[in-house]
Amino acid sequence: MLTAFHIVLRRELLLALRQRSDLFTVFFFFLIVSSLFPLAIGPELSTLQLIGPGVIWVGALLSSLLVLHRLFESDYSDGSLEQLMLSGEPLTILVLGKVIAHWCIAGLPLVLVAPLIGLQFSLPTSSLMTLTLTLLIGTPVLSMFGSIGAALTIGLRGGSALSSLLILPFYVPVLIFGAGAVGAQLQGLDISGHLSILIAMLCFSIGLAPLAIAGAVKIALE
């Protein structure tokens, strides 16, 4: 079981590496989206600081969405999803591998670069740390919930847009508490409440999502 997980993870990362542009793309998309807002809204410093955490979080969320659809779709259309399933390993383990690979590609890099972007919005150091921390806890949740939507829309034309639609409601609470924590800290409030809710969501999604995803994949292949 552990080997299966390990092989899937390696497979996904190999695929991403082979298509080097994948890695860069998420990264640059995040950079560009977060820089669009200062452009669209104007350069006042106080406003920027106010909207900074929110914008960075929304940017992370959209970047995560961006590559989500491919997670299952390409494997489905070339028949390798059914081959994966036929390997005889538990499907929950296999999809968990895929989800974690998604996080390595579309979550981890954002966590690492977020402090830099935060600087652009002139956030103070303590906020930058909170931002990074909330992203570190929150992005896996995004990957988990997102994969559910991706799995549900396997093989549907317009699946990419449809899955965004299905997923976004689930992203909302993560966004509220993630961005909320940074905002609260900027105002000098206690954020342990926010953090514990984020952690609770993480545990919850790790428990629930693989089951839901495996179910959805099975349904799609039938």
Binding site: I7, R10, G79, E82
Partner: protein, 208 residues
């Protein structure tokens, strides 16, 4: 009686695709599913490999119901469908190595090269599958077959598509070897391949 199929039925949109299917397959036997386009061959093969759920009837593998121990059953079969299951941007070697390790078979470079040699793919081993011709892609997916010959039940949906005559002969030889060493084989094809010995045929057609 390794594989026993009883009154297997499958519906699409409430209408049965074929009349219920019954057959028994013992070690070393092979069965060819025939029928015109749309008679339900692909649907049947996907049912038999446990990918779709039947709307009636049972499939027994070694006397045990397949639907109850699906994961164990999967470990006994190789299924090749209309889609090849290859990642276009990986090379032939990477594709084979990944899927073999996934399937729990040992993929030593030497055994893989031996097989690719027989399939005339040696020069292409490090080329992304994307950059191969239709037939070359097929061959890569067929390489899995020889490397997974320890799995007893082979289910092949039109395996001869896009292959040139030389490769068709190679494949027929491979299938014969598999059944002669006690393997089971279920396949479909619209081409004339009468050279496979001891083949039963299962005719689909009449939907009741």
């Amino acid at each position: 009686m390794l594989l026993e199929v009883r009154q297997l039925a499958f519906c699409r949109g409430g209408i049965p695709v074929f009349s219920p299917v019954d057959f028994v397959l013992n070690a070393g036997e092979s069965i060819r599913v025939v029928g015109p386009n749309g008679s339900g061959k692909t649907s049947l093969l996907r049912l038999l490999s446990g990918l779709s759920r039947p709307d009636g009837g049972t499939i027994l593998w070694q006397q045990k119901s397949v639907s109850k121990s699906l994961l164990d059953f999967y470990k006994n079969i190789v299924f090749l469908g209309h889609d090849l299951g290859l990642k276009q941007q990986l090379t032939a070697w990477e594709n084979l190595q990944l899927s073999l390790s996934m399937w729990g078979a040992i993929a030593s470079k030497s055994s893989v090269s031996a097989v690719l040699e027989r399939l005339d793919l040696v020069g292409l081993i490090n080329r992304p599958v994307m950059k191969m011709s239709a037939g070359q892609k097929r061959r890569v997916s067929l390489a899995r077959l020889e490397l997974l010959s320890h799995r007893q039940l082979w289910i092949l949906d039109e395996p001869f598509t896009s292959l040139d005559s030389g490769t068709v002969e190679y494949l027929i030889g491979l299938l014969r070897k598999h059944t002669e060493s006690g393997g089971l084989l279920i396949f479909t094809t619209h081409q004339d391949v009468d050279s496979i010995s001891s083949v039963k045929t299962l005719e689909l057609g009449v939907t009741c």
